[in-house]
Assembly symmetry: C2
Homo-oligomer: 187 residues x 2
């Protein structure tokens, strides 16, 4: 089975509480376009990340809101922001780096910053067909002049997920990949 | 045998002819610091790359001069410059992308632009010890939370080389590597 690849740029997940702190009371995130995972969407809202020594403007919010705010950047962004965001699976809350998010009127700060660990999304049924299960660590091979085997790919199987191998732009460029390219699970 | 890893940022090799076009008649490149390969050095000279829709400032020149000018960027830089630099082994001259290099007074343009294909440098003796030879394509494994197998690694064995696996910053970040980390050749 060929695994479709999804390439993530840096992005922000917000709690409803932080949405209202940044954009005003009762504000609802605005769907700009749906993305690969069911129910997830890129928002019209963009935010600036700042740190005493650096900033990155126009980082897109991904909706819907989550219980916990989380800012997912790339390793190279640590050199822009002068941060030390660790590589963690999205959703982890321990040991994250401090970051400030700014919108013209308000700001929110906290230990929200991480670099996303690569992972495979799939339904439970797909995981069974692939011979893997939620929580497994697998290897995914991609072809080409920059062919690679990605090790330590975390499996996240849940019935509201869709089959997708998520890498960030640096991982995609290291492998010469574009969104829509495919990989294969290997042993 | 553990293979030391060298991480390249975007950089420029210049012919003496182009050095003089950019910096003036008789100009000699200035050694800022030696780098991993014997006789190679980062220069004080930096140049701006421009393209109608984008530019990248302060791209460092690597000396000494070469027969052919060559500009080595990362895949992400193609999106900044709006170029379509192909992935090629350093030294290839066919099929490269057009680029303009600017220094305050002068500029030089030509089909000099490529994205560097990853490669292993070593002496002929080292290649024999490793069971490989110049021109081979090998796989190199690196460990860690972003562990990877780099496929299609070109072997360049020559007695004036030093043992070093060359990747660019995107490849290094995809693997969570720092200069000085090590890899292993695998089958």
């Amino acid at each position: 089975m060929r695994i479709p690849i999804w390439i993530s740029n840096r992005h922000i997940h917000l709690s409803q509480n932080d949405v209202e702190k940044l954009f005003g009371e009762g504000h609802q995130l605005t769907n700009l376009r749906n993305i690969s995972q069911p129910g997830q969407f890129a928002c019209e809202e963009v935010i600036t990340l700042i740190w005493p020594k650096g900033k990155i403007e126009k980082v897109r919010v991904v909706g819907p809101t989550r219980k916990m705010t989380q800012v997912e950047i790339m390793l190279a962004d640590n050199f822009v922001l002068w941060t030390a965001a660790p590589i963690k699976i999205s959703g982890e809350t321990e040991g994250l780096e401090y970051i400030t998010m700014v919108w013209p009127k308000w700001e929110v700060s906290g230990r929200y910053l991480l670099v996303t660990k690569r992972h495979l999304h799939c339904t439970v049924k797909e995981s069974q067909e692939l011979g893997i299960k939620n929580g497994d660590t697998i290897k995914i091979h991609v072809w080409g002049i920059r062919g690679l085997v990605f090790e330590n790919v975390a499996v996240r199987a849940r019935d509201d997920y869709a089959l997708d191998f998520h890498v960030d732009i640096e991982e995609a460029n290291a492998a010469g990949l574009k969104t829509g390219d495919r990989g294969e699970i290997i042993n």
